[in-house]
Amino acid sequence: MQETIIGQTNPLAMLFFFLFVAATLGITYWAAKRTRTTSEFYTAGRSITGFQNGLALAGDYMSAASFLGIAGLVALKGYDGLIYSVGFLVGWPIVMFLIAEPLRNLGKYTFADVVAYRLKQRQIRSAAALGSIITVILYLIAQMVGAGTLIKLLFGLSYEVAIVSVGVLMILYVLFGGMLATTWVQIIKAVLLIGGATILVFFIMLKMGFSYGDLFGQAAKMYGDKILEPGGLFTNPIDTISLGLALMFGTAGLPHILMRFYTVPDAKEARKSVFYATGFIGYFYILTVTIGLGAAVLVGQSAIAGIDKGGNMAAPLLAEALGGHVFLGFLSAVAFATILAVVAGLTLAGASALSHDLYMGVIRRGVSNEKEEMKVAKAATLSLGVTAILLGLLFKGQNVAFMVGLAFAIAASANFPALLMSIVWKKFTTNGALASIYTGLILSVVLIVLSPTVWVDIFKNPTALFPLKNPGIISFPAAFLIGIVVSLLLPEKAAEEKFIDEKIRSYVGIGAE
C-alpha cells in the first residue's frame, strides 16, 4: 500500500489555498467598487460575455462531489460511476432548447420573475421563492457537510474550522463583491479544476503509454470485465429512469444555474454560454472517468476504500502517486476552491429569492427603492451564510447524500414544470402554477422521506414505504398534470390576455431588461 500524507496537515496545500484566497479576495475588492446597484449585485450589471458565463456555469455546476465523488465511484464501482456522469450532463441541452433564451428575455433577477410575469405576483413569488430556497438550502447542506469532511482529509483541519472558513469566505465574496466577484471566483475555479484534471489525466496516460486500450485492459485484468460493464448500482430500471428524470430536468430548475443567465447582455449570449458550459462540463466528466479508472489501476481499490469508504480520495491519492506532494497540494487546494465557488453561487441565488422575490415582491408588493433593496439583499446574504454555517455544524457526521438527490427532484418537479408552462402555455393560471409548485415540492419531500434512502438508511426501518430511491417519475409528471388540470378548471382571463406580450418578448426580446 502506498505511503500517503492524506489526513495530515499539508503545508503545500495550505500555500496553494492561500494563494487562491488572496487572489479571490483581491477580485472581491475590485468587484466591490463596481457593485453599487441591485442590478450589479444580482447580475454583475449584465456585463458577462457568453464565454465567461459558460465557464462560470461550469464552475457553478461542477461541485467537489462531482469531481471527487464521481472519480471515486468510477474507481470503486467502474461503469456505474460513468452512468452518473452522463446523468449530470444531459440536463444542459434541455436548459438550452427550452429555458435559456425565454428566461433571459422575460426575467430580471430570478426565475420567479418569469413564472410571475403574467400571473398574480405575490402568490407566485412566495411559492417560487419557497421552491428556490428549499433547493438552495438542501444543496448548501450537502456541500457544507461534504466540505467539512473533505477538508479534514485533505488539509488535516478540523471539521468545524473547515465549515466556518468556507462559510466566512463565501459570505465575504457575495456580500461585498456580489455577482461580479462570484462569477470570477467561479471562472477561476473552473479553469483550475479543468486544468488540474487535464494534468492528472496526462500523467495517467503517460504511465499507460497514451493508450486507452492499456488503461482499460489493466483495469479488466485487475478487477475482471465486470468493472467495465453496468453493474449493481442500477438494477431497477424504474428507479434508474426516476433518477434520470430528476437529473435531466432538475438541472433546468436549479435556481443558482438559472440566475446566471441574467448576467449576460442578451438571449444570444445566454444561448452561447450554454454551449460553452456543456462543452466544459462534458469534457470534465470524461476526464473524471479516466481519473477514476486510473486510480483503480494505479492506486488500487483497497487503498482508496481504506482511506474513505465512499472513494472520495481516489483522485487525491492518484495525484499524490503520480505528482508527489506538490501535485496533491495543488489538487487539494483546487477541491477547496471548487467547494467555495459552488456555495458562493448558491448563497447568491438564495439571497436573491429572499430579497427580490419574498421581500420586494411579496412583503413590499414591488414598491421599494434601490437603497432599501440593496440593504435587504445584503442582510439576506449574511443570514443565509450564517444559516449555512450553522446547518453545516448541525449535520456533522450525518448521512446527507440524499439531499442532492432531493434538491434535484424538487428543482425538476417544483421549479421546472411551472417555469416551462408559464413560458409556453397560454392557458396557464395562477392557481395552476401554485398547484403545480406545491405538488412537486410536497411529493418530492414526502416520497424521499418514505424511500429507501431515508426511511431505511437513516430511520433504520426494515422496509421502505415508497420503493424508489428518487421520486422523479411520480413527482415530475404529477406537477405537470396538476398544473394543467387546475388551469383548465379555473381559467384566468387576465393571464391569458397578457400572454401576447409575453410571447413576443420571449421570442424576440423586445422589452427585455
Partner: protein, 102 residues
C-alpha cells in the same frame, strides 16, 4: 394600451409567425432527440446488460463508447442549436424588430 395594439399587430405578422413556428420546431425536435438518446441509454443499461459488455477493442466493451457518445452528442446538439439560431433565428428576429420600429 399602445403596446397591446402593437403586440396584436405583431402577432398577425407572417414573419413573426414563421419565427415562432421554426423556433418551436427546432427546440422540440432537439429536445426529443435528447430524450430518446438519454432514455435509450438508460434502457440499454437496464435491459441489455450483456449487450453493453460486448468487447469491441481489446478489453473495451461497447458500453464505454456509448456512454461517452451520449456526453459528446449532447454537446454537439447544443452546438447545432447555436449554429441554427445564429444563422437563421437571429436574422428573423432582426427582421421582425425592424418592422415594429418603422
Amino acid at each position: 394600451m399602445q403596446r397591446s395594439k402593437q403586440s396584436t399587430k405583431m402577432l398577425d405578422d407572417p414573419d413573426f409567425r414563421e419565427l415562432m413556428r421554426r423556433k418551436n420546431a427546432v427546440s422540440l425536435a432537439l429536445t426529443l432527440i435528447m430524450l430518446v438518446m438519454y432514455f435509450g441509454f438508460i434502457m440499454l443499461i437496464a435491459y441489455y446488460k450483456p449487450f453493453m459488455g460486448i468487447k469491441i477493442y481489446g478489453a473495451i466493451p461497447i458500453g464505454i463508447p456509448i456512454a461517452m457518445g451520449v456526453i459528446v452528442f449532447s454537446w454537439v446538439l447544443t452546438g447545432i442549436y447555436v449554429m441554427w439560431a445564429n444563422s437563421n433565428y437571429d436574422s428573423l428576429v432582426k427582421k421582425v424588430i425592424a418592422k415594429v420600429e418603422i
